[in-house]
Symmetry: C2
């Protein structure tokens, strides 16, 4: 039997630092639980651009298609702000999502008990919060054609196309309903069916999938603007939220911030099953590359570590080991260890990125 394979793409900014801590965790699983992974590492984003003139080399793309799971740090930074659109760091990430066809982006918005005071929301609004946002990740306005900046009369016009087919909506709706069944059995679908025809089709298909195959799950629909409001007002009303690529981008970031745990939140991007039964998969923290604090030992590695926990659960069917890792994270937080992003409370112990990683390994 060969070991499962992982491709590590640390990327830019704090990506390499937080990924270094994940490598320690992977090492622990190999040594102590005899779960060995074949790990390879490569470049993405600005780091790939600096080396190859493209934010994702073809050879890296090929490798990502072959491994069991990709772990990504973060991409982007001011250094690359003036690059041409086609070679910006983000294009590397978007190419991975698109070519691996990772249509279901799972973004848990969870409030960690030890951090409930850290949210800008009142404690009773967020304590115990645990919702899952399922964002469509391979279509919509991110990828629709035509797109670009064109001449029209004597001025320019910027165009992007929002576009969803029935089958694209169908498959992400199924992913959401499946998750809901293993959670609290509730799905809220968000779009702007009151102003966009793509939203009308979205609502109709989600309802149809529900009625035909998931009638046991409680389904509601909400306009995305009302959804943004309700997330800010009383997020605990939700269990699973399913929405499109662009709405999902804004709503999941808002939800992540509400928990007070932004540096803590992982994500999984899943595609169709491969020949070995495992889904195509990429795991990455929700936070960005935070170039302002890169290289200073200030970054919180927990989001990236919890992304590896999601890999254990969704790619390698090791739910118990994922729970073990999540438990270790809870323990170090309960012990009062805090990276720079989480300081401010009394009586906590400030630690660096790598001290946090070491503490989690110790807690395992």
């Amino acid at each position: 039997m060969t070991n499962p394979s992982l491709l590590i793409l640390p990327g830019d900014g704090i990506g390499p630092e937080v990924m270094a801590e994940v490598v320690k965790i992977i090492g622990w699983y190999g040594d102590k639980r005899d779960m060995k992974f074949d790990v390879s590492e490569d470049l993405v984003g600005g780091a790939a651009y600096d080396m190859h003139g493209t934010p994702l080399a073809d050879v890296t793309m090929d490798r990502a298609q072959q491994v069991d799971a990709v772990l990504l740090g973060a991409v982007g930074g001011p250094k690359y702000d003036n690059l041409d659109f086609s070679v910006k760091p983000e294009r590397g990430l978007l190419r991975l999502r698109k070519e691996m066809d990772l249509f279901a982006n799972l973004r848990p918005a969870q409030c960690f008990d030890a951090l409930a005071d850290f949210s800008s929301l009142k404690k009773d609004v967020v304590a115990g919060l645990d919702i899952m946002i399922v964002r469509e990740l391979t279509s919509g306005v991110y990828f629709g054609e035509p797109r670009g900046i064109f001449e029209e009369g004597n001025e320019r016009v910027g165009i992007n196309t929002q576009r969803y087919t029935e089958s694209e909506i169908d498959r992400v709706a199924r992913a959401a309903f499946e998750l809901a069944r293993r959670r609290n059995n509730k799905v809220c679908s968000m779009e702007k069916a009151n102003v966009m025809e793509s939203g009308i089709l979205w609502r109709e298909v989600v309802q149809k999938v529900h009625d035909e195959d998931y009638a046991d799950v409680q389904l509601s629909h909400m306009y995305a603007d009302a959804g943004a409001m309700q997330l800010c007002r009383w997020p605990k009303q939700f269990d699973v939220i399913v929405t499109d690529n662009l709405f999902g981008d804004l709503l999941s970031d808002a939800a992540a911030m509400l928990t007070g745990s932004l540096g803590m939140l992982p994500s999984a991007s899943l595609g169709a099953p491969m020949a070995n039964g495992r889904p195509k998969a990429l795991y990455e923290p929700v936070h960005g590359s935070a170039p302002d604090i890169a290289g200073q030992g200030k970054a919180n590695p927990i989001a990236c570590i919890l992304s590896f926990a999601m890999a254990l659960r969704y790619s390698f069917d090791q739910g118990d080991e994922a729970a073990r890792l999540e438990g270790a994270v809870e323990k170090v937080l309960a012990d009062g260890l805090r990276t720079a992003d989480l300081l401010g409370e009394e009586g906590v112990t400030p630690v660096s990125t790598s001290e946090m990683g070491d503490a989690i390994v110790a807690a395992l």
Copy 2:
């Protein structure tokens, strides 16, 4: 001299109830300040559909083009959910915005001192908050062509088009910079230039308008997802935010909810100056038609009343009278009067929609 003219469109749900209170205020200005308005009233949204089979009759559209300002209540309700897209209540509102060319939607997100406890955010995060979101209102994905649901192969595809010309971006950017000069001189522009070409053009044009004509205003740019996060984390970092139609829809609703004052927030939608120098203008509350509480005296008329205050300021150049009306609202709140949406605190006095209106008239 003829009196300035107002067209009142109460619309659906709680629209007529809250507008009835505005009519009292208008009456007070006529009687006590000798500011007489020629007021006419007409139908919009579901109410117009019920009568005419269209959410906005042509004759109403014509009238809206001729008056000095339109005051709108709210549109929509479950009764109309299954209507064809082209005659949904929202289309009436969207037609007004488009044909009057109301490109600058001003949405103050303000936290009223008396209500700071009411927010789901911590008091120090929202107390004293006063930001202004300027949302582009006549273009973008709300109106771009092609749009619709089409057959493609053997399935359907839902399509909308995000589309901005340089001149559309230019004029709304100017509106934002002008406002900033009268406030705290800061503008933050939000888009997704990292994934959308329309966002690249947006950023470029806003920067150019700034550099050429508003270099004295402090300008920053933020991706809209980061903007959603920052609004939830520390909204006081912003003064004026300028953004497109769809991002503005979500971001302004989230911002409104954060203040805890959703039933309190007005908006102004302004177009180009008419022959008499006044801008084309429509004023409406940020909240919706709330069909669940319609007709029960539970609605809060303050958002609609403050929308009239915005009309005094932006259409009729009566900043002092606007401030008087805003002061009267602050006074009744400080006195502890609360409509049903704002109950929950100790020691306040519950009042009905019309009692609130009467109290504000008395405070004037």
